[in-house]
């Protein structure tokens, strides 16, 4: 009746020496870390505040903005803060 949206043309070869535990959705302040509509979360991992722990940065489509989440340790993160540049919320032009 209805075909599935995904059409994968290339044969998939699973990497033999790779293993992961089941994925865990990251949370911040008790809520899933999510991005604004229309979605497209792009994570990065860097020590932004120089405290020796890398923090989470999440780029998004809307406005070309980037959210930062301070690493509190143990996969716990503080509430979202928008990355700032030049005194205002940073935006990457032309993302959409």
């Amino acid at each position: 009746m209805v075909s599935v949206w995904v059409a994968w043309a290339a044969p998939m070869v699973l990497a033999a020496d790779v293993g992961f535990e089941k994925p865990l959705r990251l949370m911040a302040a008790g809520k899933p870390i999510g991005v604004e509509s229309p979605g497209y979360a792009c994570p990065a991992w860097h020590d932004l505040d120089g405290d020796g722990k890398k923090d989470l940065i999440v780029g998004q489509f809307a406005g070309g903005k980037m959210a930062t989440y301070k690493n509190l340790g143990g996969l716990k993160f503080s509430e979202r803060q928008w990355l700032m540049a030049g005194g205002t919320v940073a935006e990457v032009p032309g993302v959409w």
């Binding site: 209805v2 290339a10 992961f20 991005v35 792009c42 991992w45 120089g50 999440v58 540049a85 990457v92």
Partner: protein, 313 residues
């Protein structure tokens, strides 16, 4: 990544489109240069050594547009010559390489990365991330894709002369998408239509990957961002009745699609187009759709001979 060598973190991004009117849809690379005190300058266009904005070189005529719409950019010294290179994904799923030059900065023209004798490619929206995944000292390439999943192109060349093997799958792409009715499942109670996001167990489509030792156990983990449309039941409606309504909506949607496809190449059918548009818009009367994306953590674990892949970036 530190693009200008001042030991401060810079942020590099691709973009879909010029800010100014343009014949071609082609994205500039933007860089937010780091400043002391954990601050950044406003985004500025990244330029090649000819002082012109860097743009991905068009591929064949068939893929000229999608090849120039850049997605993620990643800066690393891919060929170990002491100069940072820029590798970019694009809408079409290939990978452009701007070589770093001795004078600093990037070559104006890109070339396309190859894998197993053909152009390196994922299923649209390539997403390069360079890391020594297998611990042999050279840089391997990871990528997400429009259809989800995470993929590995192992560098089987050397640090100075990278050569990539065929694509391997690290995380399989999604088998279906939330709210899509699988063939053969005609009973509304058996469809995979779900509501809210509490049931989600892994990434959906349009994945973006990052590898690092996130949990500090000495093994590389994956962070995977995605994109998903979460459906919410309207106030006053039950999940059961919404599922039935969505099934009926989907059936009609498919019927209309089949009619439109059978009419392809013929004279435009305004009435059919109008019916399709009205039906498409009517979905919002059945369910509230929220377009969003989440970040997933894949804890790495060693397999096989027990050798650990060690974080080094």
């Amino acid at each position: 990544m530190d693009v200008n060598g001042d030991d401060l973190i810079d942020i590099v991004s691709g973009s879909y489109s010029h800010s100014e009117p343009s014949v071609d849809m082609a994205g500039y690379f933007q860089v937010l240069l780091g400043e002391k005190g954990g601050k950044w300058k406003a985004a500025q266009v990244l330029r090649g050594n000819d002082e012109k904005p860097l743009l991905l070189s068009s591929g064949s005529k068939e893929q000229a547009d999608v090849a120039k719409i850049c997605t993620r950019a990643f800066v690393a010294d891919l060929d170990d010559d002491g100069n940072l290179d820029l590798v970019s994904g694009n809408f079409g799923g290939t990978f452009g390489w701007f070589r770093g030059e001795d004078s600093g900065g990037f070559a104006p023209e890109s070339t396309w990365l190859q894998a197993a004798g053909a152009q390196m490619q994922v299923q649209l929206h390539s997403d390069p991330f360079l890391v020594d995944w297998d611990g042999d000292g050279d840089l391997d390439l990871l990528s997400g894709s429009a259809t989800g999943g995470a993929f590995l192109f192992t560098n089987i060349g050397s640090k100075a002369e990278p050569k990539f093997a065929a694509m391997q799958t690290l995380v399989e792409p999604v088998a279906g998408h939330q709210g899509v009715i699988i063939e053969g499942e005609t009973d509304a109670t058996e469809t995979p239509v779900t509501f809210g996001d509490a049931h989600l167990v892994g990434p959906n489509s349009s994945t973006r990957v990052w590898a690092d030792d996130v949990d500090g156990d000495g093994t590389l983990d994956l962070l995977v961002g995605d994109s998903i449309t979460v459906q919410h039941v309207l106030e006053g409606k039950s999940e059961a009745e919404t599922r039935v309504a969505l099934l009926a909506w989907e059936k009609k949607f498919q019927e209309l699609m089949e009619r439109m496809q059978s009419n392809a190449g013929g004279a435009p059918d305004a009435a059919l187009n109008d019916e399709w548009q009205k039906h498409y818009q009517s979905k919002k009367e059945l369910v509230r759709e929220e377009m969003t994306g989440f970040v997933w953590f894949y804890k790495g674990k060693a397999k096989g001979d027990g050798a650990k892949r060690t974080a080094s970036n």
